[in-house]
Assembly symmetry: C2
Homo-oligomer: 489 residues x 2
């Protein structure tokens, strides 16, 4: 708003000058005014930017208050580790290398427990390995004479740094030990090279390792015990939420198309949820990657099959692809005649509703980690809805192609036009059927997960209220209306 105001001001000023009756009279004050306006605009623009930044920051905190807690956790951990400096006995105990503990806390502390464990273990093991190796290289260098020593050390640094750097490109290393490889190079170079100067090499390696251990254990304790954020929980949530988003967006865009309720903004936002599903690959992979470093917690035991979540995610993305294509066919330039739309609308909406029911049931049962007794029935209903749509499509040409012909030529013309006009609708129907079959693939992947981790047995519960069994009557009515309309053409 401030920006707009500035722009308006600038425009007004220019208009005044272009008006030009007093342009000779006010050259200097015009320039001053211009400069003043420029500065004013700049300040307002800056204010707006700062304001937007803080608004963004506020939203980040409100969207997920765990982030705010995480920040306090980091602050407290750092302050605690600083105690090693404040309290003299502790400071003397670790021999002045408490710096490493501070550094470890800053570098290791990540948002999720999994990421913290990943970094802590990688850092610990890599430091240990590199330390041992460096001590070995150092003693080798010691025995090879004063002149050869820097050469041996230099060559070993060159060789190991190159090899470790290369290993970071190998996918299996990259996903699990990328940080470890970096710390390996770091520790090895530091210890080997310092070894050339510092005599008490083993002491130094030992101190470095013990301070890192202190920092790491503090991080791990705080991250696991104080309001822990588990990557596994988040992955579980992302997957089930994506199921719901997929269901809602499918529901939304089909309803929007067939009901033509373009006035309401809300369903439009809702029906774009599939884009989140399409874009969540990277987030899912990183969460799954960290989740496997987490100890057993909640429902998730040791060696929980997190990779299966990625498979579910992939099938969902394929499904979302079809929703995207469906959206495109709904927005096609070819205008489908209203009567046609009305004719197929029931079958399409029934199939959509059954498909989303399956997805919602799936989301619910996955969320509760419970087998669902309804899924089989819901899938059967979905399949019968596919059959209904097939039948509606079968009878479509019969209805469309045989209007009472006033003259043979006109009738032929009408037929030609109609199939092209109905193309987006046929495409949409075909994509809805494809989406249903892809939903079955999601069901299969979830079933595999249920088998792998022993979902709890199903509870007896009443069928989903969204089920349109009670809606059949009015829908049939609609179909009859549509057929009557078609016959009237």
């Amino acid at each position: 708003m401030a920006n707009e105001k500035g722009a308006t001001c600038g425009l007004e000023w220019r208009l005044t000058v272009e008006g030009g009756s007093s342009s000779e009279l006010l050259p200097e004050s015009g320039l001053l005014y211009r400069v003043w306006l420029g500065i004013f605009g700049l300040i307002l623009g800056l204010k707006l930017k700062v304001w937007k930044f803080f608004e963004n920051a506020w939203r980040v905190g409100v969207d997920d208050p765990r982030r705010v807690i995480h920040c306090f956790k980091v602050g407290i951990s750092l302050t605690v580790v600083s105690l090693f400096y404040y309290v003299r006995p502790l400071y003397d105990g670790v021999g002045g290398t408490a710096m490493w503990a501070v550094m470890t806390v800053v570098v290791i502390y990540e948002y999720t427990v999994g990421a913290t464990v990943y970094k802590a273990l990688n850092r610990g093991i890599a430091t240990l390995l590199a330390g041992c190796l460096a001590v070995g290289v150092h003693s080798l260098a010691n025995h090879s004479g004063d002149k050869a020593e820097p050469i041996v050390v230099g060559f070993s640094v060159f060789l190991l740094a190159s090899v470790a750097t290369f290993s970071r490109f190998i996918p299996s290393v990259k996903t699990q030990f990328d940080y470890g490889a970096m710390i390996f190079i770091l520790t090895f170079s530091l210890v080997t090279v310092s070894g050339y100067r510092v005599d008490k090499l083993v002491d130094m390696a030992h101190q470095r390792f013990s301070t890192i251990a202190i920092g790491s254990s503090l991080c791990l304790l705080v991250s696991m015990l104080v309001f822990p954020v588990w990557a596994g929980d988040d992955l579980h949530l992302v997957i089930t939420r994506n199921m719901e988003k997929l269901a809602n967006s499918l529901d939304g865009c089909v309803a929007e198309y067939f009901n033509n309720s373009g006035s309401n903004e809300e369903p439009c936002q809702k029906s774009l949820g599939y884009i989140c599903v399409l874009n969540s690959k990277a987030a899912e992979e990183s969460l799954a990657n960290f989740a496997r470093w987490e100890p057993a917690h909640g429902h998730f035991g040791f060696r929980y099959p997190w990779q299966q979540y990625l498979k579910i995610g992939t099938t969902m993305r394929y499904c979302a692809c079809c929703v995207e294509a469906l959206n495109a066919s709904f927005n096609s330039e070819i205008k489908v005649p209203e009567c046609m739309k009305k004719y197929l609308s029931n079958a399409c909406m029934r199939l959509t509703s059954h498909s989303t029911n399956v997805l919602k049931e799936l989301a619910e049962s996955t969320k509760a980690m419970r087998k669902s007794s309804n899924t089989v029935i819901l899938i059967e209903e979905m399949n019968s809805a596919i059959e209904d749509l097939h039948n509606a499509l079968k009878s479509l040409p019969h209805q469309v192609m045989q209007p009472p012909p006033p003259s043979p030529i006109e009738a032929t013309e009408k037929k030609k036009l109609l199939l092209l006009e109905v193309m987006p609708l046929v495409t949409a129907a075909s994509l809805l059927i494809e989406i249903a079959s892809r939903i079955e693939e999601i069901v299969d992947e979830v079933d595999e997960l249920a088998g792998l981790v022993d979902f709890r047995p199903a509870m007896d519960k009443k069928p989903n209220q969204n089920q349109p069994t009670n809606k059949t009557h009015p829908e049939d009515q609609g179909q009859q209306d549509a057929m009557q309309t078609l016959q009237r053409i």
Copy 2:
């Protein structure tokens, strides 16, 4: 292979025992044999794993030899920086804190120039900022008395660490200053907390900064001057390659469907290229993110609009979504009658060929950063191919629905069946049209890029050889054949 051998061995042994004539005679040697086989299998399995790992590593190097060069670059930089330790005058010059230079090289050195610059600048600026702030806090703490000093220091660490950690969640900070925020916390904590012990605080801050500067400049020089890997170049390449992949996969899957050449494996692999396009979002974003830190190089000037590449990438992914749906409709369970397929095959393949021509031309002109004189013509041809497909679809019901009827009932039955049978084909045609319109969106985005960075003017060159202008004749022949077949039904 070794694993297979092991498995066979195990199987053979079990068969021998199950044969059972000498089972009483060899219980102990059987057990020993079993243990031996187990160990043998384990060793073979391990050997296989190691072999596979090295095979993977070899492929990583062969796929992109720049990675191997990068490793040598890191090795050499580290060895050079170690000189600060080896050579005494240099060592004395930086007062024993050469360690920071080694650490900087290890931590900052990334594969692409952009990532290295990003880390170096973030590290440098964050260190400077945090150092100044820490000195300020230290002097404030000094003036507040002996008892209050640790409290002031502790509280400032807590406050700044929390705020900086929170800032890392804000998207705009995360993409550009994530590393800087971490280094800020690190330096601030280290300097503030050490300030409590080390008296020569300013000296320490100065040394830390100068060693970091030495390490950073070395990294930047080596990464920019010795076989540089520019993130911008890579992004440019990824985008143009994805255009080619999209074109090839579209070509491949349409040709595979209509030509029914299932025997050849190669096109199958080729036609899956669109999956790469679907999955390249994260890579593109990270490259674009680093590319903007790079100085002007090659064709890419300062403030090059890398964000536009992301927009092109997004339109390509939407196009790839439709190719995925197209693939699904080709693999539909509903068997489209051969004659129908043949009838629409020409129009579909013509449209595909024109669409891929546009994509290939686009890839070529983007690669050369040159305006293309052909694009307009190719798009016109694509649009006329869309018209042709529309016409073919218009005449389809006319052809299909009016076979010479032997009896009225049978004719009606035939009609009903045919529309459902032809549904996947109609869907495919509709998706091909949608793909063409999405390709036009890609063209628009590339045009915008061309306008933003002033692509060089077009060269006069002969039209793309892939253009099917000369193929019209045999295709028309095919269409005639198909129509004759249809009339014969």
